[in-house]
């Protein structure tokens, strides 16, 4: 993972966003897997981090990803009611709702941080939504608001 983010960032028309995806182990990760084995194509811009549950995703992860230079973040978990741990995604949903509103309030483009549900059987949906996320982030352009200055 480190090698890929170590590459030089180029800002031109060929620029491709780097998106970090936190996928829950039980649904979305399996969904991504299904998309793979079903040979459904989706953009190669995402890098997957497997987490036990979307409830594991602390807002720190999301903000730190942006500070570390990722252009977009997507978090995906089981549909409400399907959580392997019964209510992890419901806890996460409240957290995300607040983070999303705050980011918008502070003037960060809403499309930088995205949340979605995708079950293990929804390979197609996973691919469609990832395509959508990639499109949104690409339109936003590189993430500069979180960048530190280096002399």
């Amino acid at each position: 993972m480190t090698e890929t983010i170590l590459e030089e960032k180029k800002i031109d028309e060929k620029w491709e966003p780097k998106i970090i995806a936190f996928l829950c182990n039980w649904c979305s990760y399996a969904g991504a897997d299904l998309a793979g084995v079903s040979r459904i194509q989706y953009p190669p811009n995402i890098r997957i981090v497997r987490v036990p549950c979307s409830g594991r995703v602390n807002p720190y992860f999301i903000i730190k990803s942006l500070v570390d230079g990722w252009d977009g973040v997507v978090v995906s978990g089981c549909h409400p009611g399907d959580c392997h741990y019964i209510s992890g995604n419901l806890v996460a949903r409240r957290r995300f709702a607040i983070l999303k509103e705050l980011l918008e309030f502070f003037g960060i483009e809403p499309g930088r941080v995205n949340f979605m549900w995708a079950s293990a059987a929804e390979g197609e949906r996973f691919a469609v939504l990832i395509r959508k996320v990639t499109k949104i982030v690409k339109e936003l352009g590189p993430n500069t608001k979180f960048q530190k200055e280096w002399c």
Binding site: I63, V67, R94, F106, G107, I108, P110, F115, M116
Partner: protein, 336 residues
């Protein structure tokens, strides 16, 4: 008439109640405000003896939220075995809210706390006055009628009270603690819910992302990351704040804007549905950053999304400790 007389009444009621609590042995100590040594300030004080209650004051500059001293408990408020003493606390509305919320979060035991409630008539916006006076020394601040009188060496300036109080006080609806008579003496009320339009931040919210970003950047860039806002916040009682964690180190501590911004962003996230809107964070800021719009936004999220207002009672669980199957999820990504 006016604020001046209000204050006199408040002071005498606080002193009377404090004296009564101490003489009846209802409490061992009383936390209250006393006269500050520099203008535009007041200093928290712990009263132990009946004869000291005359040190207690109220002067619209009592910006510190006294619930700050309850969690984690200071050694001065414990007996020799480390158990909490019975504490009386001078409580304006937002102190009452903080005490209630700390009780919900199991940080304090309400049995040990007696609030001395009163109807708060607002807190003077120190940084606004400081900014307008500029580089002249303020020697005295007093309230006469409905005006704040600021005096210097050879000048005097009047500020209309209702314009120069904290933005939060202007829209405050919980002026006395929301509590029952069992744990409150003096003014108190039992509030079920409040109605709020949040029209004061509507203008900011309607700005474009770039305008908001420019505003936030301009407002926060003077921040020195002294963490006064965190330390003054009654709800920031974690013994290891996220900025101080180093396994792993989440966010930097330099004064680069990224680090300043992430600190304020995550602190806001942590206070969502928990902020009691006391405005202490803005009042204590040594460089005069106004964090009030963030406070209002947090209140708005809690109210509009979860129909919750923090600290109205000591039972309702705050939204971030709870969840519902039918929560709104309009922000989730869906196929077109």
């Amino acid at each position: 008439m006016g604020i001046e007389t209000d204050n006199k009444e408040i002071i005498s009621s606080i002193r009377e109640n404090a004296k009564w609590l101490l003489s009846e042995n209802q409490v061992d100590v009383i936390i209250g405000y006393s006269e500050g040594t520099v203008p535009l300030s007041s200093t928290p004080i712990i009263i132990r003896k009946e004869e000291d209650v005359d040190k207690l004051i109220w002067n619209n500059l009592c910006y510190i939220n006294l619930a700050r001293y309850l969690a984690p408990l200071m050694p001065q408020l414990c007996d020799s075995e480390g158990n909490s003493l019975k504490i009386g606390i001078v409580a304006k509305g937002c102190v009452g809210r903080a005490v209630n919320l700390l009780a919900v979060e199991k940080q304090v035991n309400l049995d040990n706390i007696k609030m001395i409630g009163f109807n708060c008539n607002g807190i003077v916006n120190r940084s606004k006055i400081d900014l307008e006076i500029g580089e002249k020394e303020i020697l005295d601040v007093s309230i006469s009628g409905d005006d704040i009188i600021v005096k210097g060496h050879d000048w005097e300036k009047k500020f209309p009270y209702d314009q120069y109080i904290n933005e939060l006080c202007k829209v405050c609806q919980i002026k006395s603690p929301s509590a029952t008579d069992a744990n409150c003496v003096g003014e108190c009320q039992e509030l079920e819910s409040i109605h709020d339009e949040f029209s004061d931040i509507a203008e900011f919210e309607s700005k474009s992302a770039d305008e908001k970003w420019a505003y936030i950047k301009d407002a926060l860039q003077v921040c020195t990351l002294c963490y006064s806002c965190r330390q003054a916040c009654p709800m920031c009682y974690c013994n290891l704040c996220f900025v101080d964690q180093n396994m792993p180190t989440w966010f930097g501590k330099t004064t680069q804007f990224t680090d300043i911004f992430t600190f304020h962003l995550i602190r806001a996230q942590h206070l969502a549905g928990r902020c009691v809107a006391c405005g202490a964070c803005s009042s204590v800021c040594p460089v005069g950053i106004d964090l009030n719009i963030i406070t209002r936004k947090l209140e708005k999220i809690a109210k509009e999304r979860f129909d919750y207002t923090s600290g109205l009672n000591a039972e309702t669980i705050p939204p971030m400790m709870d969840f519902k199957m039918e929560d709104e999820e309009e922000f989730m990504l869906e196929e077109d």
